[in-house]
């Protein structure tokens, strides 16, 4: 099919919803930058080198490797040279772009990959570091729906938000879904986390099947404990129809407890265990481990 689908986000649902999955990459990311206040040096003194599309990536073009993910792939709080997409590219000698976007959900990642490939062509390999499945993307029509961290726009009727379902904890326990709700109904409180699980797994399935028919090597893991648990369960289930051959789990807790790579610790001593932003992102040591994990998966093909 050759029909032009570029710029779909510009007007298709202006009157229905302000966001659709295939909007322009640079516009898409600029929104996050504004929201995430990456310029706030008091909270995060890290210097971020961004390309002309505002991604923390080399300039966009046809490349061998695309990295996908959220803030952990963007490398929030970690120096340019220490983030896993850069380390992976260096060790493999592959040209790359990094589509990591703070707060991205699995379906955001898939949407950005679709746009990129439409515009710049297919890579040989996609490496994806998945967020938790509790994170989903949904439109909020402000007079009807709200979410804990979403601020209604003064000008738009409908906004787009990331929600974390079944994720809120009280003293270490999941917060119960409330008995009553009043309009605007708060979606991250009244929707069970299975809604997010279904949506995230649908997006992951799309990514797997898309890469398969496109003849793109897909390797993936997750920094999120729950997602890694789920992927392990699926891998151990002989009846699963998900192709998890490109998947290997790695738990951040295990990295935190390990005492390896000490020869590289001096280069990143202030961010070795944890990034220097206020968001508790993973540090340089974890980035090394995920780069090594993806390198192994890619080489083993």
């Amino acid at each position: 099919m050759e029909e032009d689908i570029s710029g779909l986000g510009e007007d298709l649902f202006r009157n229905k919803a302000t966001y659709i999955p295939t909007t322009e990459l640079d516009l898409y990311f600029a929104k996050y930058l504004a929201e995430m206040s990456l310029e706030d040096e008091e909270c995060d003194p890290t210097s971020y080198s961004l390309n002309s599309n505002l991604f923390r990536s080399p300039e966009f073009k046809k490349v061998d490797l695309i990295t996908l993910g959220c803030s952990q792939t963007f490398g929030q709080g970690v120096d340019d040279l220490a983030i896993w997409p850069k380390l992976l590219s260096d060790s493999l000698g592959m040209s790359y772009v990094n589509l990591g976007m703070p707060a991205a959900s699995v379906e955001d990642m898939v949407g950005s990959l679709f746009v990129y490939i439409r515009r710049y062509g297919k890579p040989k390999t996609v490496a994806a570091l998945l967020p938790g499945y509790a994170r989903i993307s949904l439109p909020l029509k402000y007079e009807e729906n709200s979410a804990t961290d979403a601020k209604p726009s003064p000008t738009e009727k409908v906004g787009y938000s990331h929600l974390y379902l079944g994720y809120r904890e009280v003293d270490g326990n999941r917060k119960d879904i409330p008995l009553y709700s009043k309009r605007p109904h708060k979606l991250d409180e009244l929707l069970s986390y299975e809604v997010a699980l279904h949506q995230s797994m649908f997006a992951l399935s799309v990514l797997i099947e898309y890469c398969k028919v496109a003849n793109i090597q897909l390797v993936f893991s997750s920094w999120n404990h729950g997602m890694n648990q789920l992927l392990e369960e699926k891998k151990n289930n002989p009846l699963t129809e998900l192709d998890l051959s490109g998947c290997k789990t790695l738990f951040l807790e295990d990295i935190a407890e390990s005492n390896c790579h000490t020869e590289r610790q001096n280069d990143h001593s202030d961010i070795w265990h944890e990034a220097r932003d206020c968001g508790h992102h993973m540090g340089a040591h974890a980035h090394i481990h995920y780069a090594e994990l993806f390198e192994e998966l890619i080489k083993n093909g």
Binding site: Y19, K141, S181, F202, G283
Partner: protein, 277 residues
């Protein structure tokens, strides 16, 4: 590193791509004398196998209330001479349609052409947990069920019905979610099918029988609009082309749920054939 506690991953409930064999022709409407020939997988289709044409959609693609030789998938196959399989499933959503196409391609290889007739964008697929979330027609959900849910939507010229002011757990998704939630999910699935077919080198022809979705999508995504769709939908007796006799189902399916008749099926078949060519 802060160690967060996460909800335990739930076993055996994550989505899998497989051909949905849950009674694809099951209708909640019992007064329907139409005879349905089903294949060994339970679909109103020739037996599955490598085929040139896949048709995918909801009850309008099953052809509820219309004889087999008059439904649009059979007509497109007749008019093009292409072998086909019909993946129509009653109540299917855009997500379900994507899953069906992928499952079929995995099982039997890619067709040359996929023709997709979408339902309204208010319908989306989600997972219901009976103590938390239910939905209209699914208010007696089991523990966990993956279901296609219809959110409130606007009929022609009407305002979208607002969510209720107060709701009580288990929350009925029809009461508490805005229409845009279904819209977003559906469009994401439409987009996925477009991209999947693009890289699989499958020609994809898209349309919808639902007037509001048609208004939303016409001219976008490669959707082909059926001329006079709104008129067909609301006042089919006023459309007087194809005057040859089309039997008792000319204007509406003979099931009692208002599905489109053989005249609309004929028009959609012609539309899809035009798209293929």
């Amino acid at each position: 590193m802060i160690k967060k506690i996460h909800p335990k991953a739930t076993e055996s409930i994550a989505l899998e791509f497989s051909l949905d064999i849950e009674s694809p022709t099951k209708s909640v409407f019992i007064e329907d004398p139409t005879h349905y020939n089903l294949n060994s997988k339970g679909f109103r289709s020739p037996e599955f196998g490598p085929r040139e044409l896949l048709t995918v959609g909801c009850s309008q693609t099953v052809g509820l209330g219309v004889d087999e030789e008059d439904i649009w998938p059979a007509l497109v196959s007749d008019l093009t001479g292409m072998s086909y399989a019909n993946l129509g499933i009653v109540g299917n959503s855009a997500q379900g349609m994507f899953e069906n196409v992928v499952a079929y391609v995995k099982a039997y290889g890619p067709p040359k052409v996929v023709c997709a007739l979408y339902p309204g964008m208010y319908r989306f697929k989600t997972m219901l947990r009976k103590d938390a979330n239910v939905a209209l027609y699914h208010d007696k959900a089991k523990g966990l069920e993956v279901k296609n849910v219809n959110l409130s939507f606007a009929s022609e010229g009407l305002e979208v019905e607002k969510s209720v002011e107060y709701a009580k757990r288990p929350f009925n998704l029809n009461d508490v979610l805005s229409y845009e939630v279904g819209l977003y999910q559906s469009l994401s699935a439409v987009n996925s099918l477009i991209e999947f077919c693009n890289v699989a080198d499958i020609k994809l022809v898209l349309s919808t029988w639902e007037p509001d979705a048609n208004e939303l999508l016409k001219g976008k995504y490669g959707f082909i609009e059926l001329e006079n769709l709104s008129k067909f939908f609301y006042t089919p007796t006023e459309v007087d082309c194809h005057v040859q006799k089309l039997g008792d189902t000319k204007h509406v399916g003979r099931d009692s749920s208002g599905h489109m008749g053989s005249h609309q099926h004929l028009h959609f078949a012609e539309l899809f054939v035009g798209g293929i060519k």
